[in-house]
Amino acid sequence: MKKIVVPGDFLTDERKKLGSNVYLKENKVYSSVLGILSESNDYVSVIPLNGPYVPQIGDAVIGIIKLEMSNGYIIDINMALDCFFPKSLLKKSLQVGDVIFARIKEISDFIDLENINLLPKGRIIDVPSVKIPRIIGKNDSMLNILKKNTASNVVVGKNGWIWYFSKSPLVLEKAIDLIVKNSQKSNLTNFIDDYLKKQIKRK
């Protein structure tokens, strides 16, 4: 049975491994966000339903070149802090507005990126970063359904930005919107599969 919890809700006083979005006070575990409780015999965490992107080392993110400086680029990755990437580490030069796919290498006062790849012309949509796991699905199941049914190329950034190139962009966007709005419900993967098949056939 799924359960929605709000910030401050008491979750357990058993000794369990603490996952994300929970906090410990006087040996009791509480939720720190509005989200879905995820609890097993030895583990407790809360899956948030909304929230800002919190970067982690190794995250694959999508970025947009924001500014060109004499020695490098300022890259926006959908969060409060911008990244700087030096020109000396790039083979080709980039332009303001270019979209890249990269990995987070280090987080300090700045964010360091590595494995920067320039993405071709396409579109970007912005979703809450906490919904990204649902858009990818277990073993990429949801993502594969989205790609296959709409004949699209989709690259998902952990930071909540999704790059895509599609023959039916409106159907794809609508499907992603449905996932975002109903992420707390079960059986979403089957529903989206049926939904996309219907929409594409109608065309």
Binding site: V6, S32, V33, L34, N50, P52, D82, D109, L188, Y195
Partner: protein, 236 residues
């Protein structure tokens, strides 16, 4: 204490009707439209985002920039659009109250902008705005130790009452006590009072206000949970 009915038919410890709508503002990261009796307030949360000018940011935590604002059209006589000392003070103490709930240390060097706008005012606007702002912050998915719930209590025409409206607040013996608590921990996060009461009545008003806060907290929780129905059709 007499159980006399109030001018609008409420019992002494009744709150005015409260209605909560979440996620009403598409551009914001979190938002709440709250109707509290005749008060109408919109609260939005943006951020954490970069702070300008940069020297105002804090390397150990996010800065909470809370704005309490009354629309020019919110009062019988047009209110000047220039924020006065009252607005500034309320903004500061309300922002402080929210900072005790939001885990600001997770977002160093950034600012979390929390804006509240009162469309119509009928006393108790600061507690309505703060209650809405706390909901907007939870709606934005910000990590919080709990929710901030807020109510005003006091005295009007020799009667100790909860949630005074403007007519009651204008009584010659009126006492107005605004209180907000970090819930469910029940820690007092905002407390302001002016009036003229002995200590016994002060304690009584405080006790009643805490009870009112618990009611508001239950409503806030219910609204947040109901935003995400687990069962039912997948909505297109």
């Amino acid at each position: 204490m007499s159980e006399e009915k109030r001018h609008d038919g409420r019992k002494p410890n009744d709150l005015r009707p409260i209605e909560i709508k979440l996620g009403v503002n598409k551009n914001a990261d979190g938002s709440c439209l709250l109707t509290w009796g005749k008060n109408v307030v919109l609260a939005t949360v943006h951020g954490p985002k970069q702070m300008f000018p940069k020297h105002l940011s804090n390397p150990s935590k996010a800065v909470i920039d809370y704005k309490y604002r009354m629309a020019c059209i919110s009062t019988p006589e047009r209110k000047s659009p220039v924020p006065g000392k009252r607005d500034k003070e309320i903004s500061l103490v309300s922002g402080n109250a929210l900072e005790s709930a939001i885990m600001v240390e997770q977002f160093p060097n950034t600012v979390i902008e929390i804006n509240t706008l009162i469309f119509t005012a009928d006393a108790g606007t600061r507690v309505a705005a703060l209650t809405a702002a706390s909901l907007a912050a939870a709606d934005a998915g910000l990590p919080m130790k709990g929710l901030i719930s807020s109510v005003a209590g006091g005295r009007s025409n020799k009667q100790l009452v909860l949630d005074l409206d403007k007519q009651e607040e204008d009584a010659p013996d009126a006492v107005d006590l605004a209180c907000a608590m970090l819930m469910p921990q029940k820690e007092i996060a905002l407390l302001q009072m002016d009036g003229f009461v002995d200590i016994k009545e002060t304690k009584e008003i405080l006790k009643n206000t805490v009870k009112g806060i618990e009611t508001v907290y239950d409503m806030q929780k219910k609204a947040l949970i109901e935003k995400y129905p687990l069962e039912g059709e997948i909505n297109e």
